[in-house]
Amino acid sequence: MTVQMLSIIGAVVAVAVGSISPALAEGRAVAAAMEGIARQPEAAGSLSRTLFVGLAMIETMAIYCLLVALLLLFANPFAR
């Protein structure tokens, strides 16, 4: 297998595996926030603001995986 083929497999695995846990974590965060809003509707404003910040933090993990995939595909230091 050439370096290019290995990089493509690596990029696919990075995105596919790396998005599993952020997806689960975002689901749990949204579920918890929904529960909080259902119990205390008056706190919806501050809850959703904190939720957005937290989701952005969780999403960073998936974005890092995307970045690794992009580096493998377009800026691979070992290819050529």
Partner: protein, 222 residues
Amino acid sequence: MNHSPLQTAILFHIGIVPISRTVVTTWGLMAALTVASWIVTRNFRVDAGAWQVMIESVVAEIEEQIAALLNCDAAPFLPLLGTLFIFLVAANLCGIVPGLTAPTASIETPAALAAIVFLSVHYYGVRIQGLGAYLKGYLRPNPVMLPFNILAELTRSFSLAMRLFGNIMSEEMVVAIVVALAGLLVPIPFMAFGILVGLVQAYIFSVLSAVFIGGGIGAIEK
């Protein structure tokens, strides 16, 4: 799909400085926003018309959000954070216009904005807390945490840039792939989703900047 999203197309050179497409788009956006602001704020009156009420409610809402986040007076931070938000909304959404690509979809613009936020955290921190108290904030909760605090300061700016870049760029790439697969009507839901992503990312970037600045001035715990 041979065009790498990590590289930018160079349009022309000024002296030895290469000017990319992204920079030209950003200049156009800056000019458009400046002219638009000048036109709408030109004749403000006490008995406000419809346009003035709209502009005022936007500014008041941004100010209210910042004040709620930082638990203090929003006036010193409104120019930076409000401009950041409005510029990001314009920059993320200008990819919708045919022939334009969003400047935030190439890596330099988010990196530059994150650098501005990184520097302004220290600027506001020193100005509001004083140099000694601000530097002492790095020794909390105890001096052992100093390297981690410095590392966190750098990595969170990096991830701020990467988050914006990754979201907007992947959005545009998805639309490009769908256009290549099925050009007629099919990309429209993806582009509509792109509007949502652009607005949410502009909001998240501004909120995170406000949170970082709030941590720098000691208004909120990091």
